[in-house]
Amino acid sequence: MKSKKACYPYVVWMVLFVVVPMLMVVFFAFTDKSGNFTFQNLLGVGQYSNVFLRSIWLGAIATVICLVLGFPLAYLIARTGRKSQNVMVMLIMLPMWMNFLLRTYAWMTLLEDNGILNQLFEAVGLPKLQMINTAGAVVLGMVYNYLPFMILPIYSILTKMDSSVIEAAQDLGADKRQVFLKVTLPMSTPGIISGVTMVFVPAVSTFIISKMLGGGANLLIGDLIDMQFLGSAYNPNLGSAISLVLMVLILICMGIMNQFDDGEESNGGLMI
């Protein structure tokens, strides 16, 4: 019974800082400036459907790239010796200690029209490239910032995998390819799902990355919401409505994702 009492503060905390704000978002989304009930905000979200599509599209591309880069890396790290494992995990974590804004700003100086990369191209006689303010730069920013969130859960599930299960597969006649496709990969799905979630959700709703690397042409949902609250287009009701729609969209995406893990015991790798 003691444990029940001990969780009261957390319940209060959750209600104050999770449930109430959510309800407030819903309230604002369905009211106008004077507080009257209206569907106008939600209907207004429709005109930004291209922004929604772009956000989900770029977020999805970034997630796929993170998975393609992250899985082999996680696999390699999990297979090296204990000591070098720690060093490599450390190296992956290290950039995360640097401020997010600063990291993204650093990419600006690299990618700018007169930035370091273009100067380098010029020095060796190559033509200048338009890199900043493109969708590619936004995806690059997303991949760079969120890659560790893909690697770490996959790495963690791969290291926990029982080596005798792999040996059993070999023993039963599976060659390297079959062992990977039929045992290692399916057994790491909880880690993959968790990694995909942790990359996709922040990537879809980011606004700093698109603001700094994408320019005006690559507006994302995050920027849109930013504008409604802090920007020129001040309209918290519309901002709330956009947030609400985004939330529902992410929920649907996650629901689809989790279908892949259907009927399995989640072995602790799943964080959402």
């Binding site: 059993a168 070999q170 039963l172 060659d175 045992v183 399916p186």
Partner: protein, 378 residues
């Protein structure tokens, strides 16, 4: 009819981190036999199994399978299958898919797979378990799935790495009988690894007793028990009183200052020897009816028999008798010629045999397998 050697290990040497695990190891396993590698933990028995399975490469020596050298063959190309200590079932597959795994790897037809999987599940009494999640099965059921999975590949040799050590006593006995039955039905060569001497004696055609990376003795269970080659084997297989003796002549041995008739011969005159007398072979008689007598220091009831520790001139003997004897009683120890087994002196002489430090608790600590401890913690 001369049986052919299914597996042959020649001059195998293995060491990890400078520690020798197997020393000049030679073993022949004949087709259709139930062979058990028996020894304490760290004696190299699991390493031997892993060499045959292809998971450990020997530093030197040859591994032959059915007459062909297979040193460089990867595990997935070997016609042996292993039952791992902790089953190592695939947690993401159900019972059916676990059993079918090997056949799918070998690209068998769906029809054949279905037929074999059901045959195997019937064989291990898991009929109707096809669609169960393996994580929800009991230890004994998981064990059966592991057996079915290994047998579904119809291997020529089945390697079993302490497969029963995580099961409780009762289940273990049942599985022992079942494994033996399956081995006789299928005729597959079984190579079984255990540290449990009772398990080894009751299941095997041939027992290989190992210690410190070397074979101490190979023989039938009866041979191993009745004619142990050295003090280690005598002590490891069952209980033994091991005493220093001197072979005076053929069929006559002297220990504790008395001469005894025995059935052994071929030793040098006056050769120092180890004398083994099994606790159940000693008859308790009145002190004046036997050459040896002593004071009973402890009596433990064991169910079928009493375990009696007797102090004879400072040497503690163990006697197993169905008759009760009181502590402090003065009794005689009657030993017949058949009860005496003579062994040459070995590096193990003097390290075993006296029951002065004997305690039940210690014995149990030593025999509790590590894996079952871990199991208990979960």
């Amino acid at each position: 009819m001369e049986k052919k050697a299914m597996i042959e290990l020649q001059n195998i040497e293995v060491s990890f981190d400078g520690e020798q695990i197997l020393k000049n190891f030679n073993l022949r396993i004949l087709d259709g036999e139930f062979v058990t590698l028996l020894g304490p933990s760290g004696c190299g028995k699991t390493t031997t199994l892993r060499i045959i399975g292809g998971f450990t490469n020997p530093d030197s020596g040859n591994v032959y399978f059915d007459g062909k050298r297979i040193n460089d063959l990867p595990p997935y190309k070997r016609e042996v299958n292993t039952i791992f200590q902790k089953y190592a079932l695939f947690p993401h597959l159900n019972v059916y898919e676990n059993v079918a795994f090997g056949m799918r790897a070998h690209k068998k037809s769906e029809k054949e797979i279905k037929k074999t999987v059901h045959e195997m599940l019937d064989l291990v009494n898991l009929h109707g378990f096809s669609h169960r999640n393996v994580n929800q099965l009991s230890g004994g059921q998981q064990q059966r799935v592991a057996i079915a999975r290994a047998l579904a590949n119809s291997p020529k040799v089945l390697l079993l790495d302490e497969p029963l050590s995580a099961l409780d006593m009762k289940l273990r006995k049942d599985m022992q009988n079942e494994l033996k039955k399956i081995q006789q039905q299928t005729g597959i060569t079984f190579l079984f690894v255990t540290h449990d001497q009772e398990e080894a004696l009751s299941m095997s055609d041939v027992v290989v007793v190992m210690d410190k990376g070397e074979i101490q003795q190979i023989g039938t269970p009866q041979d191993i028990y009745n004619e142990p080659k050295n003090a280690f084997v005598a002590d490891f297989i069952g209980e033994s009183n091991i005493l220093d003796g001197i072979m005076r002549e053929d069929y006559l041995v002297e220990f504790f200052g008395h001469k005894f008739r025995c059935v052994d011969k071929g030793f040098k005159t006056n050769e120092p020897v180890d004398v083994v007398i099994r606790p159940e072979d000693i008859d308790v008689v009145k002190p004046d009816e036997a050459a040896l007598s002593g004071i009973v220091t402890s009596v433990t009831f064991k169910g079928v028999h009493y375990e009696i520790i007797v102090d004879v001139k400072g040497f503690k003997w163990m006697i197993q008798s169905t008759d009760f004897t009181a502590e402090g009683e003065h009794i005689g120890l009657k030993i017949g010629p058949d009860d005496i087994h003579i062994m040459h002196k070995s590096e193990y002489s003097g390290t075993f045999g006296d029951y002065s430090t004997f305690s039940d608790e210690m014995e149990e600590d030593l025999q509790t397998p590590l894996s079952s401890l871990e199991e208990g913690e979960k």
